[in-house]
């Protein structure tokens, strides 16, 4: 499995938040990807966006609730079409299956389309260890493969790099002159990888969807590398998580409407390719062998927990990254594993272990934007809260279990919030307590911008380290509202 650095989230985010190049790229994520998404949804006439989201969600709920049935149906239909399905319980098994297919096929060169699951499994080093050369062919993946890095975004894996950095990389690793335009870089990748596509004995792709009814693997791409990987080499291996199955071919339509719009603001991507078994006897071209590797690797744990099952509905569009105030500050690498952003903060702890990724459920302001943009309406904030609760209730002190002070505070807060009278009393009390402190010449309360500067209360230190705790205003909203009401009543009377 891919290296897990999720335990370093806070340290890594403190570093990446200072990176000026990353900051520029992340600003563009908001204006570019999310702006395009909004425009594409606006363009849907009549506006059935929400209907589509509901339909997609219904399909996912139904399929995941009966996943064993649909996986069985899928397997039988892939076999009927002449393909072979392999089942892998974990990353080691999945990698061994692919390595086995490569070995028995005498494979020397593999071209690979974009696959987040293969990143999760860390497949490439395993293939390389048996003497196979692996070429990532999605431009972004090719760049990070050359750089020896991991993806920083679900859809645009190399968005953290500038074109100057890519030019330098192409010069260092490929011996090219320093290219100036992005067009030239794309052209260079086309020329180099074109040759590899035609030499490769094996193409590997991921899957966006698997259709149980017909035994079909569906990939959604823009560059054409996915078509190359599934058309040119003699063997095609599709590798994917078990949650990707949908029942009928006709269920695909709604997902083809939701995914490209949510990911890149496209009405549809340049290519949607559907593979059903190997090439038939009379076909002109296409692979002679088709293998589908279906991977669990921790997903059945998500399936088993009704609170977390909906994380498996994710179609990996990246919309929740593009809107997330945390992702847009720290970028993808800080999350420490393959899946970044809000959905990554839910999925990673479940796949690598909550203890390893105990800070990720806290990598959120719980603003709810991710849930609003999700094309399958996944309630990410609810799951983050659930994970936080699990951590707080954990008997293991190393998993962010709540301290006695935090427990006491939470209990006190709950008690206060349960009664309007108590809340208002506490406000008045706190207001009179902060007054003498404000009058001190070097009061810690006056250092920040109109708030408590750097008060380090033991149980609030994480909050007050990075932001001000605002002063209580002279009047609470409740008091203002009461006054408004009585004034209105008075006006009406007179």
């Amino acid at each position: 499995m891919a290296d897990v650095k999720t335990q370093d989230f806070f340290a890594a985010s403190a570093v990446s938040i200072q990176d000026p190049i990353l900051r520029q790229a992340l600003i563009k994520v908001g204006t570019g990807f999310d702006g395009a998404r909004l425009a594409a949804i606006e363009d849907v006439t009549p506006n059935r966006w929400d209907e589509w989201r509901e339909e997609a969600r219904r399909i996912k709920i139904h399929t995941l609730d009966h996943l064993d049935y649909y996986l069985d149906l899928l397997e039988r239909n892939v076999a009927k079409a002449g393909g072979q399905v392999h089942f892998a319980a974990d990353a080691a098994q999945a990698n061994a299956i692919v390595a086995g297919i490569a070995r028995s096929g005498g494979v020397k060169i593999v071209t690979k389309g974009k696959s987040m699951v293969s990143e999760e499994l860390s497949l490439n080093p395993v293939l390389e260890s048996i003497g196979v050369e692996v070429f990532e062919t999605d431009l972004g993946e090719y760049i990070i493969q050359l750089a020896g890095e991991t993806p920083s975004h679900l859809v645009a894996p190399a968005l953290h790099k500038t074109k100057e950095q890519v030019a330098q990389l192409f010069s260092d690793k490929l011996g090219l002159p320093l290219l100036e335009s992005i067009e030239d870089m794309a052209k260079a990748a086309r020329e180099i990888l074109r040759e590899k596509f035609l030499q490769a004995e094996m193409g590997i792709s991921g899957a966006n969807f698997l259709v149980a009814e017909t035994g079909t693997l569906v990939i959604i791409t823009n560059e054409g590398n996915g078509r190359m990987c599934t058309s040119a080499p003699r063997i095609h291996v599709g590798i994917t998580g078990m949650e990707k199955v949908i029942p009928s071919l006709q269920d695909l339509a709604v997902f083809l409407r939701l995914l490209p719009r949510s990911a890149t603001g496209q009405r549809i991507t340049s290519y949607v390719s559907m593979v059903t078994g190997p090439r038939r006897e009379t076909d002109e071209d296409g692979p002679e062998e088709f293998h589908l590797v279906i991977v669990d690797n921790g997903r059945s744990k998500m399936l088993a927990d009704p609170e977390l099952r909906e994380a498996l509905y994710c179609i990996r569009c990246g919309a929740c990254l593009n809107i997330c105030p945390v992702y847009k500050k720290v970028g993808g690498h800080a999350y420490g594993w393959v899946y970044p952003g809000p959905i990554g903060a839910v999925v990673s702890p479940l796949l690598v272990g909550l203890k390893q990724a105990k800070d990720l459920p806290h990598a959120s302001s719980l603003c709810g934007a991710c849930r609003e943009v999700c094309p399958v309406k996944i309630n990410i904030p609810r799951m983050l809260l659930h994970l936080r609760n699990e951590l707080a209730e954990s008997p293991d002190p190393k998993t962010n279990a709540a301290t006695p002070a935090a427990r006491l505070m939470a209990r006190g807060y709950a008690w206060l919030m349960s009664s309007p009278a108590l809340l208002s009393l506490s406000h008045r009390l706190a207001r009179s307590l902060q007054r003498p402190l404000l009058m001190l010449p070097f009061s810690p309360l006056t250092k920040g911008a109109g708030g408590i500067g750097r008060v380090r209360l033991p149980f609030l230190s994480r909050w007050t380290r990075a932001k001000d705790l605002p002063l209580l205003p002279p009047r609470t909203f409740h008091e203002i509202w009461q006054q408004e009401l009585s004034q209105t009543a008075r006006r009406r009377d007179t």
Partner: protein
């Protein structure tokens, strides 16, 4: 046949069932789409065809508009002669001398080969037979400057051309050459994605569970925005995509 490196299907499904707390068997409430018979699909397809007939010209216009938005260069052609001229004009614009085409029916209507020959464009039909093996066909496709195909369907909703590779229709013709020209006839045009999937399902049912090994929706040129989120056209697929709309 279970793979030696993985686990068997039954073992895998059993662990999924354990996670779900479910016993083997279909969903208690059947999934409506999977219950449909061939006759049901025939009925739906008949309704679909009636709908398409009444909407014909409007759909052609919608297809042309959406296709332009999606990056196709659209050429409207009055008749087959016109369509041929449009294809040759594309060849001329890129200075091409060699082209490959599929063996789809549209080329009976549009007599491309003869017309192209007079023009100085060599059009090769990418089909293997006794005389020519697959590797030789592949080499010709790799050398070609233009790939010309028909459309098994064209989708007005998305501006897509759909090809279903089979004998006479190779996967690489619309992918490998730097320019792709798709010739679309009125009878190829459907309204929505749902229409395509309904018709493919009907095909699958009619043929006893066979609808071919591959299907591609092609929508404009190949593109990427992987460097600095800046759009660049033409990566691994064609840099130019032309749609010739007949009728």
């Amino acid at each position: 046949m279970p793979s030696s490196a993985g686990i068997g299907k039954e073992e895998f499904l059993a662990s999924v069932r354990r996670a779900l707390g479910r016993s083997p068997g279909p969903p208690a409430a059947a999934y409506p789409r999977l219950e449909e018979t061939t006759q049901d699909l025939e009925d739906q397809a008949r309704e679909l065809r009636l709908r398409l007939e009444t909407q014909g010209p409007r759909l052609m216009d919608q297809l042309a508009t959406v296709a332009e938005l999606q990056g196709w260069k659209v050429h409207r052609a009055e008749d087959p002669e016109d369509a041929m001229a449009a294809v040759l004009a594309v060849a001329d614009s890129v200075g091409a001398r060699t082209a490959v085409r599929t063996g789809q029916d549209v080329f009976y209507e549009v007599p491309l080969d003869a017309g192209a020959m007079n023009w100085g464009l060599a059009v090769f039909t990418a089909t293997h037979d006794e005389g020519l093996d697959r590797q030789a066909v592949r080499d010709r496709i790799i050398e070609a400057e233009i790939g010309i195909t028909g459309a098994d369907y064209a989708v007005a909703e998305t501006g897509s051309v759909v090809v279903v590779p089979r004998q006479g229709l190779g996967r690489l013709v619309s992918l490998v050459p730097p320019v792709h020209v798709a010739v679309v006839r009125p009878q190829d045009v459907v309204e929505t994605l749902d229409d395509v999937f309904l018709l493919r399902r009907l095909e699958y049912h009619r043929n006893g569970g066979e609808m071919g090994s591959y299907l591609n929706f092609i929508t404009g040129p190949s593109r990427t925005a992987d460097i600095e989120q800046t759009l660049v056209v033409g990566v691994h697929g064609p840099k130019e995509a032309h749609m010739v709309l007949l009728g």
